[in-house]
């Protein structure tokens, strides 16, 4: 089980209980979630798509995501980026991430992220909100190895 899961806020755990229970057909209650919390929760669901290649704290087929917002593209030490990514001169923020995620190969031909993208603007916005939120999780705190890179 991920560290993020273990350290997620109570509201998020409650909402997930509701979601899982809902799939099982059980009736239960969860604390009401405001819109930003719902955005993060939905963003976490969208993030599952990324987990074929990415993790928050570990470099995998793709680089880790702790510290992504504000990081220069292609700058994780030791990670084998495509030349296109290394040459991109992008710094990841809401705008650049949104543009890239809408169609990675269209916005950055030559990238190794050979994925058709996240076509829905709300999905992208929620995913980015989740990444920002996850950056405050235990996995991404300064004591973790990923946060130090």
């Amino acid at each position: 089980m991920s560290g993020l899961w273990r350290h997620r806020p109570r509201w998020l755990a409650g909402a997930l209980v509701l979601a899982v229970a809902g799939m099982a057909g059980a009736a239960t209650f969860a604390p009401p979630a405001d819109s930003s919390q719902q955005q993060v929760l939905h963003g976490e669901q969208v993030y599952v798509r990324c987990q074929a290649c990415h993790a928050l704290a570990q470099d995998r087929v793709g680089p880790h995501h702790c510290g992504l917002l504000g990081r220069r593209a292609g700058s994780v030490p030791g990670f084998a980026y495509s030349q296109a990514m290394k040459d991109s001169r992008i710094t990841w923020d809401e705008k650049t991430l949104d543009q890239f995620l809408s169609g990675p190969l269209k916005t950055m031909p030559g990238t190794s992220m050979t994925y058709d993208g996240v076509p829905d603007a709300k999905d992208r916005a929620d995913l980015i909100a989740y990444l920002r939120h996850a950056n405050e999780s235990a996995q991404c705190r300064p004591s973790s190895s990923a946060a130090q890179r």
Binding site: R49, Q58, R60, T114, D116
Partner: protein, 193 residues
């Protein structure tokens, strides 16, 4: 059908290995392994010049190699009980078959296949039980489904799209079985994303 009501995994694995050892591959895999001339003739007819197809295949190959290593980690963890262990080894065999086909196809297209990393940074400290290992594997398989789904429309060569869709189906079955083993709804929705 319940996970535990399945035919014995060892028998399933023998059946799989029996079929794959003779390289009785699907029509899709055969198409993938077609001669250079066939693949070459089809390159450039689609949305890219073939270099992008090689990159897509290599990214997929990198993920398959990671999955092989992840299942190896699970198999060696001593956390998996016998029926589940057999299933993990069977699924690892599928990933090896995917990786073999992908690597051979990259070579046929003139590319250099990705190779396994010397070391994978898995969250080993979070794997304390069989359920943890199953959940870890399920997350990787779900991600793989999304990755192949995101790759299918990108190939210039439609045979490669078909092959990726074939692998996607296999990954989706892995994901469903792992969810079932965890006591979760094996197929949680009508669509994958």
């Amino acid at each position: 059908m319940s996970f535990l009501q399945m035919p014995h995994p060892a028998a399933a694995r023998r059946a799989f290995l029996g079929r794959s050892s003779g390289l009785v591959l699907s029509g899709t895999a055969i198409a993938l392994l077609a001669g250079n001339d066939v693949l070459a003739a089809q390159q450039g007819k689609g949305k890219n010049d073939g270099q992008q197809d090689v990159q897509i295949l290599n990214t997929a190959l990198g993920a398959e190699l990671e999955a092989i290593a992840a299942y190896q980690l699970g198999a060696e963890s001593k956390l998996l009980e016998k029926p589940v262990l057999d299933l993990a080894v069977t699924f690892q065999g599928h990933h090896k078959a995917h990786a073999d086909v992908l690597a051979q196809t990259v070579e046929k297209l003139g590319g250099k296949p990705a190779v396994a990393k010397a070391r994978y940074d898995f969250p080993v400290d979070q794997l304390k039980s069989q359920a943890d290992v199953l959940r870890f594997a399920a997350r990787l398989e779900q991600g793989a489904v999304s990755a192949y789904l995101g790759a299918v429309p990108l190939f210039g060569n439609r045979d490669l799209s078909k092959a990726a869709a074939s692998i996607l189906g296999d990954e989706a079955m892995h994901w469903a079985i792992l969810r079932n083993a965890l006591g979760e709804a094996p197929v949680p929705a009508a669509f994958v994303s």
